[in-house]
Assembly symmetry: C2
DNA sequence: CAAACGTTGACACGAGCGTGGTAAGGTTGG
DNA sequence: CCAACCTTACCACGCTCGTGTCAACGTTTG
């Protein structure tokens, strides 16, 4: 075989994926191998490493490929990233968890706008209503 | 009706979701309303805002609820976050896009270890093989 | 008390994911 | 040249997602 790259079957054996899955992973955009002039997939050291790591990642955290695809999208699309962060800022469930805050840099302005919209906290409402009309 | 919180049907009307979906969204952990003493869901201003924003977010970027759930998980689980980032660092497809790099702070060490494993770049391999054994 | 609304739980269903297989055809290498 | 490999394109299957509906049962309110 070749100098430095493995064919799909060889790569399958050394990474633990099936050839079928390697094609699937490629189509999902996660690991896209180079191609020979005749169209054969060529997996280099980098790709093999990524395939193994991907395997670990999915198993260890019980993720789907789509999750990693989404994470990739998050990394590449700044607009999406800030939209998602913006949504997180309004988090009412756990008001003290600022871990999301330093997840990335975000503008103060938009968060305050959202917080301003939230006049009453859910806890307050619950107590209020427990002794009130509904509860 | 109550002072400040809406019931599930009312919330459904003002947010555009169906009552069924509001329960589904709750089960997925994205928007969890308070409960009255008798178990009725109580959506406050904050929740309603989040529901509307969520709607926009999903439609604008064509996301699934699971994507947002995953993003939430990314924000809360630092271990997962760094594992995913670590995986991104080995990105062979587009070596020039450092956008992922400043996505969050990351340690130099692990990345270099991965880069060291990648001796040849896919492009090099392809060219090499095109005029070589396989291509 | 009865109507209107809330709750959970189940059945259903189309679409997409993660897999496998198989068929039809090109490439490589002994 | 022929076996062994590669390619794409399909069919299939079980599972989850997003969504609706319906049943059985509790709550609120006129």
């Amino acid at each position: 075989m070749a100098t430095d790259a493995l064919t799909i079957h060889e790569s399958a054996e050394t990474t633990g994926w099936s050839p079928r899955m390697l094609r699937y992973i490629e189509r999902s955009g996660l690991v896209v191998p180079a191609r020979s002039a005749s169209g054969y997939r060529l997996y280099g050291a980098a790709e093999l490493q990524r395939l193994r790591t991907l395997r670990e990642l999915l198993q260890r955290f019980d993720l789907g490929l789509s999750d990693v695809v989404f994470a990739l999208r998050l990394g590449n699309d700044a607009e999406l990233r800030s939209a998602v962060e913006e949504w997180f800022e309004a988090e009412p469930a756990k008001p003290e968890h600022v871990a999301v805050g330093d997840w990335l840099s975000w503008e103060q302005g938009k968060a305050e706008k959202l917080l301003a919209a939230a006049t009453a906290t859910p806890t307050t409402i619950a107590t209020e209503l427990t002794g009130g009309t509904i509860g």
